[in-house]
Symmetry: D2
Subunit: 320 residues, 4 copies
């Protein structure tokens, strides 16, 4: 059976490696190349796959129908251009083409919300991990106009350390992270905020600020976002709106019990619960949204978008 060749630029980081592993198990794709400058010439075992890294500048871009760019933010745009010039379509995992980036934007690959724009795109801007967990949770409310205009949406979220990338920072050493828990980017300054704000407005936010505090968890993978949203009024079944909005979506799970990381790791899903807040005057919903930051938050969603670009089954090669 003929397989479609795809390539990965930046394949030694956590998201890049996850992508290579998914591609190796994908029934219709094959890995044309995997680039990693520092590991050039080295072989690495990734899940069931063995790859030999090439330097990014040596990657045979013209052999791939889709190129995934998992390069650092800022460094990606150049290689997106090179891949385009070689005739490939691109799924870019960096923030360079995302909403709010202030540059030329590409269609935003939050697949369930923007599915119509993906198949014809030359470049897909794959969403950030936090925005994926949070915007999937907020979209039904925002589109329904149910958020109190002018109200602040409060998000406290926590991520496993792979979210910080495969970088040898002393503060990410085992002995520094184990038995610890800390907030970062405190003060509503996280670089994902522009992306979330821009998409939230597109989805219907009315002067709704997002107050976002991320935390670093002593776990390898997973994001859990705890979101409180002031709403105009309660309905009997608080999650009915989400069940309706995401009906038939294979990668969105609306559940009664708040999800935890172990429900979602190694799976390409967003799993969320919606609960009414008791003991407060202002009707408020509490949404708990969980993803695997490397799957639905990065490599899995990138593959989901590539499936759409290539006219394949959107679920092909993805662990639900």
């Amino acid at each position: 059976m003929h397989k479609v060749p795809v390539g990965v630029l930046g394949a030694s980081g956590y998201a890049g490696r996850e992508l290579c592993g998914l591609i190796a198990r994908h029934p219709k794709l094959e890995l044309a190349f995997a680039s990693a400058n520092e590991q050039r010439g080295q072989r690495a075992r990734i899940g069931a796959a063995e790859v030999t890294y090439v330097a990014t500048e040596d990657a045979p871009l013209n052999r791939a129908e889709v190129v995934f760019t998992a390069l650092p933010h800022g460094a990606s745009a150049l290689w997106v251009g090179n891949a385009r010039a070689s005739g490939a379509r691109v799924v870019d995992l960096s923030s360079d083409f995302r909403p709010g980036a202030g540059e030329a934007e590409a269609p935003y690959g939050l697949t369930e919300l923007m599915r119509a724009k993906i198949p014809g795109a030359a470049i897909v801007a794959n969403p950030g991990c936090y925005p994926t967990a949070i915007l999937v949770a907020l979209a039904p409310l925002l589109k329904a106009g149910s958020v109190v205009p002018g109200a602040t949406i409060n998000v406290s979220a926590a991520s496993g350390v792979t979210g910080a990338g495969y970088s040898a920072r002393p503060d990410l050493l085992f002995a520094e992270v184990a038995e610890d828990f800390r907030a970062y980017a405190v003060g509503n300054e996280h670089r994902h905020l522009a992306e979330m704000r821009a998409v939230a407005i597109e989805l219907g936010a009315k002067d709704n600020d997002i107050l976002f505090t991320p935390h670093l968890l002593p776990v390898a993978r997973g994001i859990l976002a705890t979101i409180t949203v002031p709403v105009n009024e309660f309905t009997d079944d608080p999650s009915a709106l989400w069940h309706e909005f995401y009906r038939g979506e294979p990668f969105i799970e609306i559940v009664d019990q708040p999800p935890s990381l172990r429900d979602v790791v190694r799976r390409n899903v967003v799993r969320l619960s919606v609960t009414k807040a008791a003991n407060v005057r202002q009707p408020t919903l509490i949404i708990i949204s969980a993803i695997d930051n490397l799957m639905k938050g990065a490599a899995g969603q990138a593959l989901q978008n590539a499936n759409l670009l290539l006219g394949l089954n959107e679920q092909a090669g993805l662990p639900a």
Copy 2:
């Protein structure tokens, strides 16, 4: 040197064991008894101390000048009474005598906020772990009248597993907690809410609801609370109010960098930072407050209160 005899009822749980360890190192106290029904007759090594457990009903209450009751909520009140009848003064670590419990209340032992009432008390209601972290953070703002009247105070907090006690629940097994993170009591239903609400009102809250979502961390000990508070206006130095309010307090640390668990574990402190939220219309402060749930959140604060009851140096035997 004569030492003051004190006893611990419920000494096999995490808080009770921590207390026994602190008492063993205390320069002026000695352990008269340690009770644990299931372990009666067994010896246990706790830090530098060796204890032999007695059954609670066999504890020689009349030998202790202060009795610490670290029994389950609901079961404590009876033994507080028995200890009082034996002539001992009591620091009760359960919720039975705390504000909002709906029963006879005792002076609330959040020492820095209520210090004047402790020395003369017959019974001190030692605060819950979450309330300690959160109320110390909120007190200066509430007392200053700086919280927007009617605004909701949002608290997302996370606790290590010792907060759930030493109980053999399957959901607390290593293989279930490691690599996981989950919210619990979702819906603003946590049993600590009544305590926090009651004290917040006493401190000056004006129709301010508290919206509180706790989470379970894959760490043994520590609580980190991320608190967002709408305020009437910003001041130049957002933490000046706390520096002023807690000036000279040895167990309260106001810091510029947000605290993390490893800053506070095994120490009897509340460590907190105050940051202005950027990118939101409503002036809002973000307070990150960290404690060790077994120290300042339980045994350490209990000992701090006992020091006051006995006229000892408040810091005696407490690791700052």
Copy 3:
């Protein structure tokens, strides 16, 4: 496509759940029932599967062509008999029918070593997790007669906590296991020893005692065994014997770099390295052998054996 119905007795423990998850993804099998007495009537999500537990006595044994018994040691034999009486063939994950158990033995399902006996068996005694890691490592040496006669084979092994089963023991709580490491069954008294000794003799051990010390790791899954074996003489390439012995085996990996747990978790493989010991007079080989205790050490190997019983591809449904 017709699928073969199989059943799992004891499906709420770690091995039983792993089996249900594997069966749900197996291309040729379907789950006829999953029993768990305490959870009877409850639904549970296991990987991609949803199961509804029945009581073991209500399991429709006659509907399954193969029954997996993952019941406690001692309790399994009865249900193996019941399943046989219903016409099913059985893969028994307990120790009841293993070599050295002193009872009626069944063919021993260490597949790579005993493959010829499996397809025709009525009952397969699925090996213990430690024996799998250790016997696969020793077999080539023992069969080649290369171990010094009378020499002691020293094994220090460590297992993740799922090896202890899904039981609410206080010593397996997160707060007791995290940041800890401990030996157990110290004194060469582990219940897996009889199984290892019996098979080692069958493989050719000549008065070779096994001195085995297991340890409990603060990880969820995986076993690493560090084995030192006095040998008659060194060969140039210490691992050549293993490469030859296991040539073509899809689930045995002979590697140059010592394997670590993360090389094998969630995979049905034994991965091992062989190294000559420097700085000792007696020629000695050091074998590091790693498995996932729930996969090749339990559920994966059970499925591998079931594939053989049913005449299916031995690798079907198994993550290599």
Copy 4:
């Protein structure tokens, strides 16, 4: 009260920081300086202490009566010389002056075994962490001549990641170490072997090789060594020899139940158990020895030696 000034060179690593923390709590010592080239000028909080780092070349060596050198192996000898030239006595935590190092040796600071030589030393070679755990365990047997001549002593040991130092190596990142376990220096090639061999001979080993395989644990601190020793014959009480040998030693604990890491972390002790091996022809003892690699394995023992150098109580400032 006058305190004795001491200094720490290399105070930003794990052992150096631990030392600064111990010195801050020591009743008779005060920290004259703490050097760290990369952190020069920075303040750091270490336990209850705050230090301001100076560059090593700026350290006022002549102000300290004892200088602790916690510099990398190889780099230490120069600064030991400089400190000596300034009139200070030195406790060197590197391997530069240890037995087997092939250079000028200094008295070996395994305090309980070599106590007589410490008080008068100009330089004390503080032992490595593994040698401390292993040699304390072996000394009574070797001195008694009870080890079978020519027999191999087998040691499988595991260490927390702080044993690898505070270095930003990708393989020590949280996401690489958590849920993993691996052997290293496989092949009996660890750099601590020469130190162990040299001291073992001094203690009475008769052609006894040591076969040593270390492992990396997903914990921050602690070493557990599992040692098997062929002995000439069993005695009734296998641990009587150790009880006798270490009678009165405050930092050596001989216990019946095998020790685990949590028994020793943050304590300056060696805790060990001795068990007869069942089911083997050759009488063999199994010794489980546990230490905190940063305390008795580094900073704690260094302070114990400094106490002796200075004529202080050997236990001063040390958590038993």
